[in-house]
Amino acid sequence: MEAPSTLRPAARLTLTELPLLGEGLILGLSVQSDRVSADLPERLAELGFLPGARVRVLARALFGDPIAVRLGSGTFALRRFEADCITVQVLAPPVCGAT
């Protein structure tokens, strides 16, 4: 997995690694750690985190956890390990001019 500094247009990242205000397309959901409950992907799917949906990281709290993610016209707060379960393809670099 590439570091955010070497972004290419089609780079695959986890949602956690998506840069602030950058846009991504969800590719898939998977459980990354055995400390995570197995039905996490199902719940994320019910909120709308489905393959093909577009997401954008709106904010990161102090120390980068949790993150606020824009999905369609809704916003959700996810903890890092939850965002780690979501694989995205980078669609657009961070919007210029925004902080």
Partner: protein, 627 residues
């Protein structure tokens, strides 16, 4: 309720504006109770249409799917599937969807369609969708979905008109539903099934030609600042601080007016009734007791108003976002913040709000620490003591010393809660990582109407409490403080001879080491029922102890004169923990399903109160003695 009245149920995702629509449909004719056997709030109301048809309306808890993951969602799901004991399934489901977020909200409609009840979709927030340029025609959506659609605006006075018209015109549909389809099996809820439903939604949206919503909304720009890692916490701290300053200073003129009113009534009774037992009952029992609690109504209303505005505007979940990491440090999540903040108003709704926490362990810990949040019932005690003992001085930047002390008292409660949560973490064992998955709804201006209804419900509860529990206890206390009458030769105040006086002097042995006199000791007894009763009790005790003096509504100068500063500070410290609230313990018992946890809470808080008051008393004495 008449069996002939059809029942319509409002179902929708959380934050779809369902409750605003419910308020619009039913006005203030609402009945709030619990579902049988569970502690999920059941909100029912009555709707009378322009054509004179009467319907029951049920506001079901918000749900993301028919595959439940929280107690709230379980109620909605079981109710719809006809599996909730004691409930008759609905005759019609009104699926409320946020018109600005159809691609998510319509997925629940697809699932509801499968269940097979008569269904109508309320395209809510349609005004906002139009402004953002993402509105769809109800007729086109109805065609594509195969379900009737009406558009509504939950926050406008006439916003439910088209829904009510539809109900009137299709009343026969609502009525036929008596023999209904056998409800389908609950949804599987796996990713593939959800993705399937989503494809159906995308098909519908493509058919109505709806454009993708703009990804950048005004809400995002506000979030850029409010959720900022540095500015965000600063804004939160300032907001909370201003809130407590306003609660203290803003309510003052109203409280003074109420105090004057109580004193006026007392004067009027004194003038028109001959001295004797009856006059003493009115003036010393009812007015000095219940009257001194009523004067705190303005503060309680103001506090509730702040919390309701923060909740309605969408700020509360942001605060939860900002505090998630901090709460994670003591093993909780940001989700616990909302129940804990509600506990500042009253621990009972706060403890009930923990139902939105999916993890049972987090929920239990939140319930156990909720009574440490400074509830509004402690305010009367704090206000009385701060008013009597803390000089009304302005420090730098217009910050009042009295407001600052109040803030410190709140902070100590909060800090204790964190310490308790941290310790409980070890008692409840290791755990897996807990998801947050919290929706941050778009900001909007709080609706005055909803604010009004919410406030009115709180005021009603408070006034009913003063009128029933508190009044009854005050009369009982007055009785205990008045009998038996002292023998003719007795020189001290009559109350010292009474049953209450004797009980008080016995309890004073227990509380003397932490600086409480017998008047305080006795006020703590009726204070078991509700914390604010202690103030009323002090009113009654001092009113009967003072010979001929009129105390109604003028307790402040009396305690200022009768107590030492260490005693006052000790009582303040006692009330930071103050275990005496039987209603809270009863709610904890109901929510945790046993006596173990409420007894644990009561014991721990009593101990903490005693130690904190003792330490405060002795440190203050040493300090004043040294200074």
């Amino acid at each position: 309720m008449s069996p002939l009245e059809p029942c319509i149920a409002l179902v929708g995702n959380p934050n779809c504006g369902k409750t605003a629509l419910f308020n619009l449909l039913t006005g203030s004719r609402q009945k709030i109770a619990n579902y049988a056997g569970v502690t999920v709030e059941r909100k029912e109301g009555r709707l009378t249409s322009p054509a004179g048809r009467r319907m029951q309306v049920l506001d079901l808890p918000g749900a993301y799917s028919l595959h439940p993951r929280t107690p709230d969602e379980a109620v909605t799901c079981d109710y719809i599937l006809g599996r909730l004991p004691g409930e008759v399934p609905p005759d019609l489901i009104v699926a409320v969807v946020d018109a600005t977020n159809l691609s998510r909200h319509l997925r629940l409609v697809v699932a509801l369609k499968r269940v097979g009840y008569p269904l109508v979709v309320a395209l809510n927030m349609s005004d906002l969708a139009r402004r953002r340029g993402v509105a769809v025609e109800p007729a086109a959506l109805a065609e594509a979905l195969g379900v009737p659609v009406v558009s509504t605006v939950g926050v406008r006075r006439d916003g439910a008109a088209s829904l009510v018209e539809w109900l009137d015109a299709h009343f026969s549909i609502v009525r036929v539903a008596v023999e209904r389809v056998e409800p389908a099996e609950p949804d599987r809820g796996d990713v593939a099934a959800t993705a399937n439903d989503q494809r159906e939604v995308e098909r519908v949206l493509a058919a109505v030609g709806r454009l993708d919503p703009p990804i950048d909304t005004p809400s995002d720009r506000i979030d850029g600042i409010v959720l900022h890692p540095v500015f965000g916490p600063l804004i939160l701290a300032v907001t909370l601080f201003l809130m407590f300053q306003a609660v203290f200073a803003g309510a003052r003129p109203f409280m003074e007016a109420l105090t004057a009113l109580v004193a006026m009534v007392a004067g009027w009774i004194n003038a028109s009734i001959a001295p004797g037992l009856l006059r003493s009952l009115f003036v010393d029992g009812i007015l000095a007791g219940a009257g001194s609690v009523v004067v705190f109504l303005p503060q309680i209303v103001l506090l509730f108003a702040f919390i309701l505005v923060l909740e309605d505007s969408g700020y509360l979940p942001r605060a939860a976002f900002l505090l998630d990491r901090l709460m994670g440090g003591v093993g909780l999540s940001g989700r616990s913040f909302i129940p804990l903040l509600s506990s500042f108003a009253c621990a009972i709704p706060g403890i009930m709000a923990t139902r939105t926490i999916p993890n049972p362990r987090d929920r239990l810990v939140t319930i156990l620490i909720a009574p440490l949040m400074t509830c509004s019932a402690r305010l009367p005690v704090y206000t009385l003591l701060i008013g009597a003992f803390i000089p009304n001085r302005t420090l730098a930047l217009g910050v009042g010393l009295q407001g600052l002390v109040l803030f410190v008292l709140y902070a100590v409660g909060l800090l204790s809660a964190f310490v308790a949560a941290f310790c409980l973490q070890f008692a409840t064992g290791k755990r897996t990582l807990q998801p947050l998955q919290m929706e941050l709804p778009s900001y909007h201006w709080p609706s005055l109407r909803n604010l009004g209804i919410g406030l009115w419900q709180r005021i009603e509860v408070f006034v009913r409490r003063v009128g029933t529990t508190i009044l009854a206890l005050m009369i009982l206390l007055w009785f205990l403080s008045s009998v038996p009458a002292p023998p003719p030769g007795f020189t001290g105040p009559a109350i010292e001879w009474s049953l209450a006086g004797r009980l008080g002097s016995f309890l004073a042995h227990v509380f003397a080491p932490i600086g409480f006199n017998w008047e305080i000791s006795i006020a703590l007894v009726p204070g078991m029922a509700a914390r604010e009763v202690a103030v009323g009790a002090l009113g009654t005790v001092y009113s009967l102890a003072a010979t001929g003096q009129d105390v109604a509504g003028a307790l402040t100068p009396i305690v200022a004169q009768a107590w030492s500063l260490p005693t006052a500070l000790s009582l303040l410290a006692w009330y930071v923990y103050a275990p005496q609230c039987l209603s809270t313990l009863a709610v904890i018992r109901r929510e945790t399903g046993g006596w173990r946890h409420p007894l644990l809470v009561a014991g721990a808080m009593f101990l903490a109160a005693y130690i904190a008051a003792g330490v405060t008393y002795h440190v203050a004495r040493w300090w004043l003695g040294a200074g």
